[in-house]
């Protein structure tokens, strides 16, 4: 053991240095290893560390113990992200280069009665430190994934890969230190999904935006050119649902995966996605949409009912999509298995006499790690939405608005997420965003920055 210390801000207790008063009585202590769990974070780990405490005098021994007790009190008092730092247990094994740390939840000190301290040495204590810590060991530094500006707001993608950028390196999901989404104009909503090459293969083959003009049209639906519609195979084209012959529920649009991806590309589309529909209605008109998916038309899963009432292009979350829809893939998966995956939009008109325009479906991956931010009001101009997962595990959202002279925090957006953290290795980041009221403007662009902290289940390793 080369490093073993408790740290809270500037207060430090080195458990290996005789000068601190603490040493290990034997050099055979090793930290425990947490077990990964599905859907929830692993349990905290309780380390039992035998210690010998010696000082030059009884008073000096008291002083040493008071340092420990101060750490105990600070650890007990640190409960949430309102304090900058928790207590950390730093650790590094012999002959390894990477020092790591874990958040400490609780510290106890227990006296151990033995032949030695029965000898009434007033300057010596034998004891055991009980340190309850988080299951993951973290890097001491965070890695910054800098992404160039100019990402699209409708399924914009960024590839990060070894060599070109830092990437999550730990054996556990990396902790999100900071996610910044800055728009060329004010953005109040952001949906960001991460997926790994390790799990999803050739990421470039995944399609994050389904242009509806490339699918099939159904009742009262027709194509129309619109410069504000997102560009697809047919240029800036949208689908206009007139409700002319049927205002009640009817299928308006459908699309099969094989219409969008080639056989070779299809396997990269396995996964679970949040579907965002870009839509609007004529003034005075209200419509309602339900998205369905399945294999062809026989096995269908319906999403929630979503009211469409905005007269500007707006991003509406219309449900989750699974590819394949059964959630169970053949092994190995085949393109044939997925090519008939089917998305459909049913709609009815609730009020008014106008049409509904639908443009595209944006699929944000949520099966590995996704973070969604939303705030009701923004300051105007450029803005930054920020999410962070502090060490203790309570997400913090911040919204920075531009006042004309400086960026200031204007509010705390809601942060929703799915998944334990950034997946290891090379990956892609997908993003969609919108202005207040989820208004989607085609010309808006984004700069997305990600910082993360690598995490490991086991202390052992050479990388930092």
């Amino acid at each position: 053991m080369r490093v073993l210390k408790l740290v809270h801000g500037s207060l430090e207790l080195n458990l290996l240095a005789g000068s601190s008063g603490f040493t290990l009585p034997a050099d055979n202590w090793a930290p425990k290893v947490a077990s990964p769990a599905a859907n929830v974070a692993p349990e905290t780990v309780v380390e039992e560390i035998p210690v010998r405490v010696r000082a030059a005098s009884a008073d000096a021994l008291s002083s040493v113990m008071q340092t420990l007790h101060r750490l105990q009190v600070l650890t007990a008092a640190w409960v949430d992200a309102t304090e900058p730092e928790p207590t950390w247990l730093h650790c590094k094994l012999d002959a390894e280069t990477g020092e790591r740390r874990a958040v400490v939840r609780r510290i106890e000190f227990r006296y151990v009665t033995s032949w030695f301290n029965m000898q009434s040495d007033p300057n010596l204590l034998l004891g055991q430190l009980i340190v309850e810590r988080d299951p993951y060991w973290e890097s001491l530094t965070q890695s910054n994934l800098v992404i160039n500006s100019g990402m699209g707001t409708l399924g914009g993608a960024f590839a990060y890969a070894y060599g070109a950028n830092p990437r999550p390196m730990g054996d556990a999901p990396a902790r999100l230190a900071e996610l910044n989404v800055m728009g060329s104009a004010e953005q109040a909503y952001a949906w960001v999904g991460f997926r790994s090459a390790q799990k999803h293969g050739t990421l470039a083959d995944f399609l994050s935006r389904w242009e509806l003009e490339a699918g099939g049209l159904s009742t009262d639906a027709a194509l129309a050119t619109d410069s504000t519609a997102s560009p697809g195979g047919g240029g800036n084209t949208k689908v206009v649902v007139s409700f002319a012959t049927q205002a009640g529920w009817a299928m308006r649009w459908y699309g099969y995966l094989f219409q969008y991806r080639s056989t070779a590309q299809i396997p990269a589309n396995y996964g679970q996605y949040l579907a965002l529909l870009r839509a609007k209605v004529a003034s005075g008109t209200t419509a309602e949409v339900s998205m369905l998916y399945g294999y062809q038309t026989s096995t269908i899963t319906a999403g929630p009912f979503v009211r469409i009432s905005a007269t500007d292009w707006t991003l509406y979350p219309v449900g989750l999509v699974r590819i394949p829809p059964s959630g169970i893939a053949l092994s190995p998966g085949t393109a044939a298995e997925l090519s008939w995956e089917y998305l459909a939009l049913y709609a009815r008109r609730l009020a008014g006499s106008g049409a509904m325009d639908i443009d595209c479906l944006v699929l944000i991956p949520v099966d590995e790690y996704a973070v969604m931010l939303s705030i009701s009001q923004v300051a105007g101009g450029t803005s930054t939405l920020r999410a962070s997962l502090p060490p203790l595990g309570q997400y913090v959202g911040q919204y920075f608005g531009w006042t004309g002279s400086e960026f200031v925090i204007m509010g705390t957006p809601a942060v929703a997420w799915n998944g334990p953290g950034l997946p290891r290795g090379d990956g892609y980041l997908y993003v969609a965003s919108a202005r207040p009221n989820r208004v989607s403007v085609l010309s808006d662009t984004l700069t997305v920055g990600v910082s993360f902290v690598n995490r490991w289940l086991s202390l052992r390793g050479s990388t930092a």
């Binding site: 949430d80 949906w191 026989s298 899963t301 009211r307 829809p325 059964s326 997400y395 919204y399 809601a414």
Partner: protein
């Protein structure tokens, strides 16, 4: 993995997922988001007190992958400090800021005018409360009215446990939080005029008289109904009565407040949304259903239902033993799900007052 957030103001939302680690909630076909609760964890004593003092009425939203799956507000909190339990609640018997007293004089029905505390109404919304006291004088009724406003106009802290001074050692501090769906706000107001109209119009009229809840999607149901409000009726109770009638064809209708404080009144589904197969709830089609996304008011096709020697399945879902209507859905983190079929006992909850008093 769900996330839970607390809205403390227009632009202030706090992630409370790690505070509400034992979060559980229910939703109903008739009511929508119904009840939620958790015991706050990881909060220091001072933070528990701050929550107790400030958070009553704050909005709580559950999301799954960014989709809103439950929406309500903090309805009640119980704080235990040093062995003493304190309560702050928005239950009508604990708090009301607009009061009327009905009484009779020689058998003739009389009522006071409404009396109200406008400061409280501005802070928390309007909670109507009607007392019936039988034979009395006008002075009696007014005195009772004044006393109620004096005592109950604000959701004050009340000590609700027996106090045993000196026995505080070893008693842990705790904060229990109960949330209610926005449907409960329908019962904050009463309606005093009998409504005769189609079911659709009657519901729109009644909801239109509410604060906080507005009319969202209301499908057309031409069933003629008459809701007797000659005795003041709480609006939620009156709406529930209409919805429970269904329609002229005997079909079930669903009504609830799900998101954006909007009431939705819909004809029940004509097909099964889910399959119940070997103990697993699946989407019709076979895909797994994330537990937070399961909705009440849907039908499940029960693959394994023994139909015995009964006549073969009939014309519709209603008389086919293999179909099961989901009246209530209960979810607890991380993934515990209970669905309650139509006709079975719903959970006895702390919002039982919503069912009438």
């Amino acid at each position: 993995m769900i996330s839970l957030e607390l809205a403390t103001g227009t632009n202030e939302v706090i992630d409370i997922t790690s505070v509400a680690r034992d979060w559980q909630r229910s939703s109903r076909a008739l009511g929508g988001c119904w009840e939620g609760m958790f015991t706050a964890q990881g909060l220091a004593r001072a933070d528990m007190v701050r929550w107790f003092e400030q958070c009553l009425g704050y909005g709580v939203t559950e999301r799954y992958c960014g989709l809103v799956t439950w929406h309500g507000y903090i309805y009640e909190m119980r704080l235990r400090l040093d062995g003493v339990e304190y309560l702050r609640s928005l239950a009508p018997q604990q708090w009301h800021n607009r009061v009327k007293v009905r009484y009779s004089v020689s058998g003739a029905q009389q009522a006071t005018a409404w009396a109200e505390n406008i400061d409280s109404m501005a802070a928390y919304g309007t909670m109507d409360y009607v007392l019936d006291i039988g034979e009395a004088t006008a002075a009696q009724a007014q005195a009772l009215q004044a006393r109620h406003l004096e005592h109950y106009a604000w959701p004050a802290t009340r000590v609700v446990s027996p106090i045993e001074p000196g026995r505080v050692g070893g008693l842990g501090d705790s904060l229990q939080v109960v949330c209610a769906g926005w449907w409960s706000r329908l019962n904050w107001r009463v309606y005093e005029t009998t409504v005769s109209a189609t079911a659709t119009s009657a519901i729109s009229t009644l909801v239109g008289a509410c604060d906080f809840v507005t009319v969202g999607v209301v499908d057309q149901n031409d069933l003629a109904v008459k809701v007797d409000c000659s005795t003041p009726r709480r609006i939620g109770d009156a709406v529930e009565e209409i919805v429970a009638l269904g329609d002229a064809d005997g079909h079930l209708w669903n009504c609830g407040v799900w998101r954006d404080h909007q009431l939705e009144y819909r004809h029940g589904d004509a097909t099964a949304t889910y399959w119940l197969r070997r103990g697993q709830l699946l989407y019709a089609g076979g895909g797994p259903v994330p537990p937070p996304l399961v909705e009440p008011g849907r039908w499940a096709f029960v693959y394994d239902a023994p139909v015995g020697l009964q006549p073969s399945p009939q014309a519709g879902l209603y008389d086919d033993p293999r179909y099961c209507f989901l009246e209530e859905v209960r979810f607890a983190v991380p993934d515990r799900l209970v669905v309650v079929p139509y006709g079975e006992s719903l959970s006895v909850d702390m919002l039982a007052h919503q069912l009438g008093r």
